[in-house]
């Protein structure tokens, strides 16, 4: 593939020098080996080192480089650059405070994740060997444990935008169900009590933006539905 130029409309903001954010028209010439959006951003940064974004694994497992790409949240490292209409409009994830350029403050997102007690609770004395779990029971965790905490889902969810302090959001609720679904976990009652509230769980109105954007093809809406089913089941 020959050399090609890509054009961006890039959200820029450096609180150290900018009074307010602005959109910058910027373009960069790519090398033939540059295939993903992240490759283009790294190329761009080699020309303008002030452009700031998070990145690490460049293979879609660390969750660092989530951003809003032409209006839709996704991971830069899993997005084919040639599939994107130009100019490519890049913004930070919506709904979270911007620190600088494409870097958002994820405190609120992680606070909600932590609020669901994201760890296995089993107060039985630990056996000498592994706790047994049938392959069928283990399969219940598929589609739940693979979350990479990139926040694409929660920051595409209007309920999370309006109530980021009260609504757990799709990522946190997916994690909540990951432990509810684990046969080794004993805290089902406490976990459901923790979500029994007008906001924490029930602000999900199943509009499924989370499913649409998840770079790991997970389905938080289905997990939330299952938690709601468990709530109903224990109420009757």
């Amino acid at each position: 593939m020959s050399k090609r130029t890509v054009n961006f409309k890039m959200y820029r903001y450096d609180p150290d020098k900018d009074e307010k954010p602005y959109m910058q028209d910027i373009s960069v010439e790519l090398e033939p080996s540059d295939k993903k959006l992240l490759d283009a951003l790294v190329r761009l940064k080699s020309v303008d080192d002030t452009l700031s974004f998070r990145r690490s694994c460049r293979e879609g497992v660390c969750g660092s480089d989530a951003m809003n790409i032409n209006g839709k949240n996704g991971l830069a490292c899993l997005t084919d650059i040639d599939s994107l209409p130009q100019p490519i409009v890049l913004r930070p994830l919506p709904g979270l405070p911007v620190i600088r350029d494409l870097i958002v403050d994820m405190t609120q997102f992680f606070k909600q994740y932590h609020s669901i007690k994201p760890y296995l609770v089993n107060n039985e004395p630990a056996p000498e060997r592994e706790r047994l779990q049938s392959p069928e029971d283990r399969e219940e965790l598929n589609g739940l444990y693979e979350c990479i905490l990139c926040a694409c889902c929660s920051t595409s969810c209007p309920s999370f935008w309006w109530n980021p302090d009260k609504f757990v959001g799709p990522a946190g609720l997916l994690a909540a169900y990951r432990f509810l679904a684990d046969t080794r976990d004993e805290a089902t009652t406490e976990r459901l009590d923790n979500l029994e509230d007008p906001y924490r769980l029930f602000r999900c109105h199943s509009i499924m933006n989370c499913v649409d954007v998840c770079p790991k093809s997970l389905n938080p809406t289905r997990a939330i539905g299952k938690i709601k089913d468990m709530m109903v089941a224990r109420a009757v």
């Binding site: 940064k45 080192d49 660390c62 283990r138 990479i148």
Partner: protein, 597 residues
């Protein structure tokens, strides 16, 4: 510049598998602990490990730790220290079972136990036949492990300093370690983390190479800090090239693919590993498989229009097996190779993957260096674990799944050592020297004021190309000599890096410049140690040390059965003996032998 001081019992640098495992030990013991990490913990590179963690649980095939120890010593080409290897293999079941108790979602056997798959170089009965020793969560074992460890730390209320970059190690006039300096990304402010104990768990430096499976963050920060503070780096000539990086992209394809039955093929479709390793074939040790692949390519049997890669074939496996056991690999192949492995083989090439060397430690995770005639004298207050450390369990070549085991065992043991050393009163809070932050502040000031300097990107590229060309899968005397001169030139350029970004807030240009300082230390250590070692052993294979009757596989135990120690100051080399005696008096050492698979 104003430098804040913070005081802790212990500071841990790095929140990957080793750092998180160590942190658990300290938090659960009630110690005041700070964990510094330049990325949110679950973004650490442990997340990218795929195939599994070794433990002789024997859940599907008979197994025991003696066999695992034999495989690891043999895999290391006898450069591993047998006391540390015994310790690791004996501890494996305990730390893996603990992880299961923390909630790790291992795959399961039909009777509900942890699922285990075969892996390269792991065998039953001292090399006789493959064994299922790799405990796996599909092909996302590292992800599942890192999240489980982070989650357990949430439960233990561990205090994290997220998106802080450690800058330099603080040592006093006695050489004791008193903590680190660090810069907060969000504010650009420098702090001193003053502590009784400092644990480095900063991971590897695979980014010294142009073609690497490693994340951007794998820049050897702990190694750079240690080297600048006068601590030697051990066995840095030994780098693992993973046989199966995606051709062109470098992204890892787990050895677990071959564990599940995948086959490497050359241009004529031949299963060429049968010629190189008649017994274990595609599941021979990684250095052996990588060299075989490069030999196929060099002799014109490579695939594609330029005959520059080979193929990893799993089309004979059922789609159900692939979807169940290797779902992540299928995604990666589609994303980065444009190939659905259910239908077509994956183009692969050996790719820089893991650093066997590192900061020298003993099996307790204490950092050691020669002093007063003792080659392994502990440095008071300093501990290290995981890929940044060299215990040494991997020696000249690491077996797949032993890295995740290493970080569990030695993360835990470093944590236990700190708890023990604090309780016994061996460690106190020594007063900070007046110049504790001077080196870091000088580095930052130099970067801030540099004009007419070098681009960080350009110097980094030159470093990566130099390492790739001069210190690759096969090594040549002449190329190594030229490589030493070339990398020293790059190191001179790195002293004059200049950044345009002067912002205090989230200045990633500054971060990358500081990371380059660390990478350069690792690159120098690698090239200089490699040039000096005039034999072939494990992953270090030279053209002028071929396979002969006197020196099988080119290995020269008479002169080179010893660990390299490289000191940054003056690029000085020293050597120390390999520990042959296992930890327990009643365990026989694994006797030296020619390595064949």
């Amino acid at each position: 510049m104003n430098v804040a001081k913070r005081t802790f019992d212990a500071v841990i640098v790095g929140a990957g598998g080793a750092g998180l495992r160590a942190a658990l030990q300290l938090s659960e013991a009630g110690l005041k602990t700070a964990v510094l990490t330049k990325v949110f913990p679950t973004r650490s590179h442990t997340v990218a490990a795929q195939g599994g963690v070794a433990a002789s649980l024997g859940n599907s095939t008979e197994d025991n730790w003696h066999w695992h120890m034999y495989d690891t010593v043999k895999g290391s080409d006898w450069l591993g220290d047998q006391d540390a290897i015994e310790f690791m293999c004996r501890k494996a079941n305990e730390v893996v079972v603990e992880l299961e108790h923390y909630g790790m979602p291992f795959d399961r056997t039909d009777n509900g136990k942890i699922y285990q798959r075969p892996f390269g170089g792991h065998s039953q009965n001292y090399g006789q036949s493959p064994v299922s020793r790799s405990c796996a969560a599909a092909d996302r074992t590292g992800h599942a492990m890192l999240h489980a460890l982070y989650q357990r730390n949430v439960r233990a209320n561990t205090q994290f300093f997220v998106e802080w970059n450690a800058l330099d190690l603080i040592r006093d006039a006695d050489g004791d370690v008193l903590g680190v300096t660090a810069i907060e990304m969000e504010t650009g402010e420098v702090s001193i983390f003053h502590a009784k104990a400092t644990i480095f768990a900063t991971g590897g430096a695979g980014r010294i190479f142009h073609s690497s499976t490693n994340a951007f963050i794998n820049t050897g920060d702990g190694l750079g800090m240690a080297a600048r503070a006068g601590v030697p780096l051990e066995d840095m000539e030994f780098w693992q090239f993973h046989p199966t990086g995606v051709f062109g992209a470098g992204v890892l394809i787990t050895e677990g693919v071959r564990g599940e039955g995948g086959i490497l093929r050359n241009a004529s479709g031949e299963r060429f590993m049968e010629r190189y390793a008649p017994n274990l074939k595609d599941l021979a040790s990684r250095d052996v498989v990588s060299r075989s692949m490069v030999t196929e390519i060099n002799e014109g049997r490579g695939c594609g229009p330029d005959k520059d890669h080979v193929l990893l074939d799993i089309t004979h496996l059922s789609p159900e097996t692939i979807m169940k056991r290797l779902p992540g690999i299928r995604e990666i192949s589609i994303q980065f190779a444009g190939v659905d492995p259910i239908k077509a083989p994956i183009p692969v090439v050996p790719t820089a993957h893991y650093q066997m060397g590192g900061i020298p430690t003993n099996f307790k995770g204490q950092v050691v260096a020669p002093k007063d005639g003792n080659p392994n004298a502990p440095i008071s207050g300093f501990y290290a674990a995981g890929e940044c450390a060299c215990a040494s369990v991997h020696g000249a070549n690491r077996l797949g799944t032993n890295s995740l085991l290493d970080l569990l065992v030695f993360g835990k043991s470093a944590g236990e050592s700190v708890v023990e050393d604090l309780r016994s009163g061996n460690l106190g809070l020594k007063p900070l020297p007046a110049d504790a932050a001077d080196m870091s502040l000088a580095r930052l000031a130099r970067l801030e004021g540099q004009t007419n300097g070098e681009s960080v990107f350009d110097v980094g590229l030159e470093m990566r190309r130099t390492m790739q060309k001069h210190a690759g899968v096969f090594r040549f005397d002449q190329l190594l000599k030229e490589g030493v001169a070339a990398i020293l030139q790059v190191a001179e350029r790195a002293k004059r890096t200049e950044i345009k970004d002067k912002s205090k807030v989230w200045n990633t240009a500054r971060t990358e410049a500081l990371e380059l300082d660390n990478l350069i230390e690792v690159a120098k250590a690698t090239m200089i140690s490699a040039e000096a070692r005039k034999e072939s052993r494990g992953a270090h294979v030279r053209d002028d040390a071929p396979d002969t009757a006197e020196f099988p596989n080119g290995r020269n135990d008479k002169e080179w059965l010893k660990h390299t120690l490289w000191y940054s100051e003056g690029n000085r080399l020293d050597y120390k003996p390999v520990t042959i005696q296992p930890l327990s008096q009643d365990v026989e050492p694994i006797a030296l032998a020619k390595r064949t698979y």
